[in-house]
Symmetry: C2
């Protein structure tokens, strides 16, 4: 298939740029995994869970109470975060304590927060030592 075969007639104007871009494009797998990662981060409840866990490990019902959502809702979100390998957990009696898997996602969130908070007071205290399980 050639580019712009039946869409744009002016392709020869931008063909060099398009070819340069084509070479730099990530694989389908990278796009798929990356969009899934951002999709997981693109939910307020999950983001708050991750901010919380970046400070201290917490059990499901503490998270539910902290975020003012039902334990069931928290569990559903934690399941998604587990499937994405973003959080890990340990069992202790009746409780299940969740924590961040590593610092990658924490960095992403902090960098994103800096972006959206530009020119605005940031209530998130980035000085707290990140917690990993």
């Amino acid at each position: 298939m050639t580019l712009n075969d039946d869409v744009c007639q002016m392709v020869y104007v931008h063909q060099d740029a398009v070819e340069q871009v084509r070479k730099g494009m990530p694989s389908k797998e990278t796009i798929r995994d990356l969009s899934e990662l951002f999709k997981v981060l693109g939910d307020g409840s999950r983001l708050r869970i991750l901010f919380a866990l970046s400070v201290h490990e917490l059990c499901v019902c503490d998270l539910a109470a902290l975020l003012d959502i039902s334990p069931s809702a928290a569990s559903h979100q934690l399941r998604i975060l587990r499937a994405s390998k973003i959080v890990e957990y340990r069992k202790e009696g009746k409780n299940v304590f969740y924590s961040l898997n590593d610092g990658h996602v924490s960095n992403l969130i902090r960098e994103g927060a800096e972006h959206v908070c530009e020119g605005r007071e940031v209530s998130y205290d980035g000085n707290i030592e990140p917690y990993y399980g």
Copy 2:
């Protein structure tokens, strides 16, 4: 409202942790904006548009051809990216050229790509000089 008032009875065990976490939680506005940012990044078509624009500015129909989507679909996604201030555009005759607004999002994507590509070959050549409009 007190924490865990009718959900968990064992809250006193973890109350210190919960209180510590509460103080570090971002504001509602930060959570809302950040989740929206990640939501915008959580789509394969938009991610590919951003990867492409990080290499070179492109017009709508070049993007459509490159990504094998309709110009209409590309325009819809670009509208979302414009609304999020992630891309900007300049008009030149019948064409509208889009480019990245700044390096923040490019950094986010690169960092995310490194995360998902761990232990896998990365086809995206990060050495290409990023393009900003």
